[in-house]
Point group: C2
């Protein structure tokens, strides 16, 4: 017997649900249908952010929840005490108390998969009672992680779009040519501790390189980054405050008074000829940088915009960096947190190029320029258009709040009960359900790029095969159909939970999920699906059988509107 | 020694922070300033949602965090192992390991207070090292709760605005005259388990009446509500499925077959003369309602829009309700989850009024009409304008995501170090800090309504007194000043944490926090501050001393821009 991890968050359990799941389950129990075999599909109807793709995440916590699913006696006592359930038959609470997921199976897309509208992310099969009780928790565990990972990947894609905007010029500072990375800085703006933690986790799956969240670093092994804030800079008012600080000389040994060495540059006592501008910088800021350099000589990165980026912060950073360079250290870079990030980053990069040359300090070419301050997808596009020298984005608020669309509208629908397909009729065609138990495949073309996702009837249809033509139909438009001869076919869903027994598939590590994202995004690159503006829609089709079945059900069950 | 609760979420602890708090603390430690006395203020600069008020929440978890604040050996081992901290002096980790909040004090507004821009929500005093380490966690614990409670209260205010729109008419269905309640339905759309849980908790403080979240109900004692979803209705296809179901006759005892009794109404076998419309409803839906009625005869409330609200759901509900009424039960109401909620609610209410009269069943007058489906503040305003008969709103996505503004921009700033005020200069006047340790007061006028909040210098200013004129100045506009003679003065901040010793104030229960919200919103009613459109700004002023001190500091420290 393998032991399984419990959910990361101690709030997760059978009670983390909407009351109506319990009242519905009671009604099913009362009518003796709680053990009937049901199939629920969890899916979304529309890609978020006006885009054409979604990354599926949250499966890791779903599997943990199913393994740990068990009402405690305390839970039951609470339920018995609530006015809404006080008249329930006591036998129902006995039923709940012994309930577990031993008869439930979870099929799902792999975590990190590219997912498209109406293709189930998760298929829950098993007793109706349990299937119903899982709804809210599964939605809670999947909606935000998938939304966040998608948002993260979109931001990384936009950051990388920079490659297409870069002018070809020999004079371009080296920073303009670096591969750009994104780091997650959103803990303080998330919906509490767990919103922040989930953001760190699934942003990493969605190709962010690091997080500022130390807890996420510890628990999940994500690289953590961070240096200092404005408060640190403010906390120094004058150079007197760092008079005593020393740093080891890596070249010749011994301790060196950093302030003295910095002042030699500032006052041009060492022939470096930095110029008068360097004498007009803010002293408190310079003191703060010196203090920071003494603490982190090996990873010196400064926030340079507390007073004036170009006239003070940048120059103070450069002076301290020159000294650190003299002592055998390699400074790391600067962070910009306000102002015109494109122009400021270019100004800083040009200054770095100039000093690299005039002071013969090649490390200036390799300095990072970190930009933060309300970055979102739109800003990233704009920065690319303006031209910038940013090498790393720190993204907080707009990443974690998914401000452009703060919720993914996943739904959880009963598609089959006791072997009979269920249909939710709706006057809105967008809300119509594709009934019955289905299998879903991704069909690849000659170039190894995916052509479309195909859903077929799990019982009546043969699986599509490589080299064999198959008719694919748009479920909602009769004339939209295509005969596809795939070069390769993959079954989309694997079994990730099977009654608590060893399942066929494991969710894998975050790094594996992240690799899958990279691979799948790479697989559709150039198809227009990942574009920011007017992205191409990826086709999701159904088999001819499923199409006909669906339309027969509609015709039989949807009342013909009357005109009079 | 009192024992204190630990934070609700197991992720909360000293590591739930941004890495830069730890690197800054190291730099302070390295420069031997970690024990220097510091004062940080946590405040926001702008009310959310284009409004004029904010409700302060999150203090309960802040206090728990300070009591529990302690790095574990495992935390320290992790920190030592991270590349960013690998070169740190080992003594620093010894310092962290023994660290606690025994020298730190938290002053704060009471939880549930009306808060305004720049008046600190929380003031943290104590050693610089600890003050720095608390920043991110406190922001995380306060930003979302305050934003959410504010959003909730705004929605409740908008729901209650209905009173001003109601036409005076004797024919108006009784539902139109009920006090409207709001319930939180957002768990599945929140940022994971803890986002959902926090939403339930602070929405209750922000005057929501109930939640669907069972876990929040159990842990926090919030009333829980919920009945059934579309999936439940869909799970029934025909009347055969409920043939055997019975319900107790409350009047005469014995069990009654509900389906038989319902069919007597439907087929007009009991002389009720309901009309032909009642014979054309959806059978699956009627079966589902019958099944639900057998489970919950005492709290019968049905979702009526699965097929067609007016032609099917409403009529099915009414038939089952008539039978329940015959058997001595009082049905509770309906829920609408799609379509034109204003028009549908009115249609349903009129049908209820008609049946109350024609069937002589007064309970129809008292039925609730619950509305859900993407409700937000704007929708509520529009529904009031249209005229509706909704008695309870179920609000999910837009409440928990705070879609109109998904993050509150609280900041945490060092205002004093070693008794010396600190100033963050900024070219943006909005970002300028009011330096130094301050006290804040609310000044009330003759009508017992608050006039303004006044911040004074903690050392140099006498506290304002009732009956005594005091000059109040806008910190940023020299000509905006007013002489106020308050009828009453309250000190805004209390001490909620004092080094782990028994603090002067306790955060109180959620119910007490909620009562404070009610009292404080009531206190400013009619002042225009709570209005939806162009709300009146509430003045936040400073003493003459503070004004002069601030302006002297600015003149001394802000460089004069140069033109050339």
């Amino acid at each position: 017997m393998t032991s399984y991890e419990t959910p990361t968050n101690n709030l997760v359990g059978p009670l983390l649900t909407d009351l109506y799941q319990i009242t519905m389950t009671y009604a099913h129990w009362k009518n003796k249908r709680h053990e009937e075999h049901s199939v629920f599909e969890l899916f979304f109807r529309k890609n978020p952010f006006k885009g054409s793709f979604t990354l599926f995440c949250g499966l890791d916590e779903v599997v943990k929840h199913l393994h740990a699913f068990k009402f405690s006696q305390e839970d039951i006592d609470y339920l018995k005490s609530t006015p809404s359930l006080q008249h329930c038959d006591p036998g129902f609470f006995d039923y709940l108390l012994q309930l577990d997921c031993s008869k439930t199976q979870i099929q799902a897309l792999p975590q990190g998969s590219l997912a498209f509208p109406r293709v189930p992310l998760v298929i829950v099969s098993g007793p109706l009672g349990v299937g119903q009780l899982l709804e809210t928790t599964l939605l809670t565990l999947i909606n935000y992680p998938s939304l966040l990972a998608t948002n993260a990947a979109r931001m990384v894609l936009r950051a990388h779009d920079h490659d297409n905007h870069r002018p070809q010029s020999a004079d371009l500072p080296r920073q303009c040519q670096k591969q750009i990375l994104c780091a997650e800085f959103g803990l303080r703006r998330a919906q509490g501790p767990d919103g922040g933690f989930s953001a760190s986790k699934y942003a990493f799956v969605g190709l962010f390189a690091a997080t500022s969240n130390v807890k996420a670093g510890k628990e999940l092994g994500i690289p953590i980054v961070g240096t200092h804030a404005h408060a640190f800079v403010q906390s120094y008012l004058s150079l007197d405050e760092v008079q005593e600080l020393t740093v080891a000389n890596k070249n010749s040994g011994g301790q060196v008074n950093l302030l003295e060495k910095v002042l030699e540059y500032r006052d041009n006592k060492n022939g470096a000829n930095l110029g008068e501008d360097f004498q007009k910088t803010n002293d408190g800021e310079l003191a703060a940088f010196i203090a920071y350099a003494c603490a982190f000589p090996d990873s010196f990165l400064c926030l340079v915009d507390t007073y004036d980026t170009v006239k003070s912060g940048l120059l103070n950073f450069c002076m301290v960096s020159l000294v650190l360079g003299d002592l055998g250290y390699t400074p790391k870079g600067i962070r910009l947190d306000s102002g015109d990030l494109a122009a400021l980053s270019m100004a800083c990069a040009h200054k770095f190029a100039e000093l690299a040359k005039s002071q013969n300090r090649p490390f200036f070419h390799d300095l990072d320029i970190v930009a933060s301050n309300d970055i979102n997808e739109k800003t990233l596009v704009k920065l690319n258009q303006q031209g910038h020298a940013i090498t790393l984005y720190g993204i907080g608020t707009n990443l974690v709040t998914c401000q452009a669309q703060p919720a993914l509208g996943c739904v959880y629908k009963l598609v089959e009960l006791n072997g009979k397909p269920r249909l939710k009729l709706s006057q809105e065609i967008a809300k119509v359900l594709i009934p019955g138990r289905k299998r879903a495949y991704r069909l690849f073309g000659k170039k190894e790029a995916p052509l479309l996702d195909l859903m077929v009837d799990a019982d009546k249809d043969d699986p599509p095969e490589a080299g064999k033509p198959v008719l694919c139909r748009n479920p909602f438009q009769a004339m939209d159909r295509v005969m596809v001869t795939p070069s390769r076919v993959t079954l989309l869903h694997g079994v990730y939970f099977d009654g608590g027994k060893e399942a066929l598939e494991s969710v894998g590590s975050l790094q594996e999920n992240r690799n899958l994202v990279k691979e799948q995004l790479g697989g559709v690159a150039g198809m227009g699906i990942l574009d920011y503006e007017e992205p191409k829609q990826y086709p999701v089709m159904v088999s001819d059988n499923l199409y006909n079945f669906l339309h027969t059900m509609w015709q039989e069950q949807l009342p013909v509107p009357e005109l009079s």
